[in-house]
Symmetry: C2
Subunit: 311 residues, 2 copies
Amino acid sequence: MKEKFVAYIKNLQNEITSALEEIDGKAKFKEDKWTREEGGGGQTRVIENGNVFEKGGVNISEVFGKLPESMQAYFGVKDADFFACGLSLVLHPKSPMVPTVHANWRYFEMYDAEGNTVDSWFGGGQDLTPYYLFEEDAKHFHQVCKIACDKHNEGFYETYKKRCDEYFWNSHREEARGIGGLFFDYLKSSVASAKDDKNIVTEMTMQDWYNFVTEVGNSFLECYLPIVERRKDLSYNEENKNWQEIRRGRYVEFNLVHDKGTLFGLKTNGRIESILMSLPPVVQWKYDHHPEKGSKEEKLVEVLKNPRSWV
Amino acid sequence: MKEKFVAYIKNLQNEITSALEEIDGKAKFKEDKWTREEGGGGQTRVIENGNVFEKGGVNISEVFGKLPESMQAYFGVKDADFFACGLSLVLHPKSPMVPTVHANWRYFEMYDAEGNTVDSWFGGGQDLTPYYLFEEDAKHFHQVCKIACDKHNEGFYETYKKRCDEYFWNSHREEARGIGGLFFDYLKSSVASAKDDKNIVTEMTMQDWYNFVTEVGNSFLECYLPIVERRKDLSYNEENKNWQEIRRGRYVEFNLVHDKGTLFGLKTNGRIESILMSLPPVVQWKYDHHPEKGSKEEKLVEVLKNPRSWV
């Protein structure tokens, strides 16, 4: 399974970076290969100062070895080995009319002292963070997510859409980071983690989950590119750009204060530059900024404070 | 003691904001009074878009009531009441030649169910974050800190300078946030927390600590203003400003990932805008940015990675 999934994310990284370069029309991804002292490494691909993308990264990594101490406590195990691989991407467009997007698809295995696999699971998802709300875009993004989910189980979309809203909640601001999408974790054969969701059948093999996660991964470009295409040439002014940069502040706040993946990476000696490539290129913090009553900016905040159903 | 210290910080807020308005010459502080539902409140004073200061706040607060649950665990107590007051300031100058400064002086009391005071202590400090290193400025800042400390105990400067270097350490970057200053906490009559420092006498009453902390507070303007005066009219170019904004990213990373005070505030329903006024106005994150070999920018990073003795 791990070789199959590694091959999948390598291929997907190529597909996604090619498609993004094509739509950008100017900037090219630069690749940094890195190795991890304790085992494994990755290929970070970064795009900067494009026509469409101000900054973004599409990274894959494959790491393994002794489970770090901080993770042992987290998973409640001792002296375990692990293997983890995944593709992680964040794109920050230049135009405030084009939403930021984030996606991640990953696979994890854990081994006992004798090297037997004791646990394995998939995780990931994809979510959209607009600066101006185009309902048509939100519906499109969620619709494509739902179609991918529905092929595997009619309950998946509802469940993983809800988990996404819960996970990307900037609790200190009482608002969502964006308008959501999908978020799932601990997808295992036994599906113990999903037992609270009565509409999810519990008969999923790891191969079934592989099929599901790769279906979602394959849907990413269809989720995002039509939105970029529709919005990339809209005009905008300095005020729109300021608003984007202020909202990007909330993105930074979420990633540095609440995001488990980021904090985990920062506290366990991950490759800092690959982890923090998720941070936007230019960000503003204004004291006590509030959008004007009835403005487009306020309409966005309204939706972030009260997550909606989009399909 | 609490009335005396509240009166002190109110007066100090006036003194500091007046002096800063004078040196800025353009912007004035705007005051927001706020109240805390559970007890107490504060006065936040914010300056923006000045000649010298791009953004800054000089805030006082006085809060009390039931000790929040998250704090009970932290202090290892149950059903306690508390009182906390303090002045907290951060100034982000426009010019990259003028350093950012942070200071905080605070007093805390804790009560049992019968309302008896079971514990009380002072905390605080002041530290400097330059974007370009002028050794003369670093020496001046530390020298004034040392003079204030020396009046109370010859061991204080060395001890609290070291604690400052340890506290403001951006561990995921393996560098200090700035060039340090003073940091102290849990200053109590018994001085239990300082028992590891053999050169600190243990005979300090709360009145002695009050005298020490206010001595440090009173030294703040003398620490900082001469530096502002010397650097505020130096010329700088876009490259210098970019460097400042990139370094401000590290300031954000420290405050949101590592700073106990910020995280505590965000997770205990503090007044978000007063807490996050510490964040710089405009920030950049560039992927894998490194200053040029032999540049002034590299010289700064060198000192941040290897904290120095300045006096």
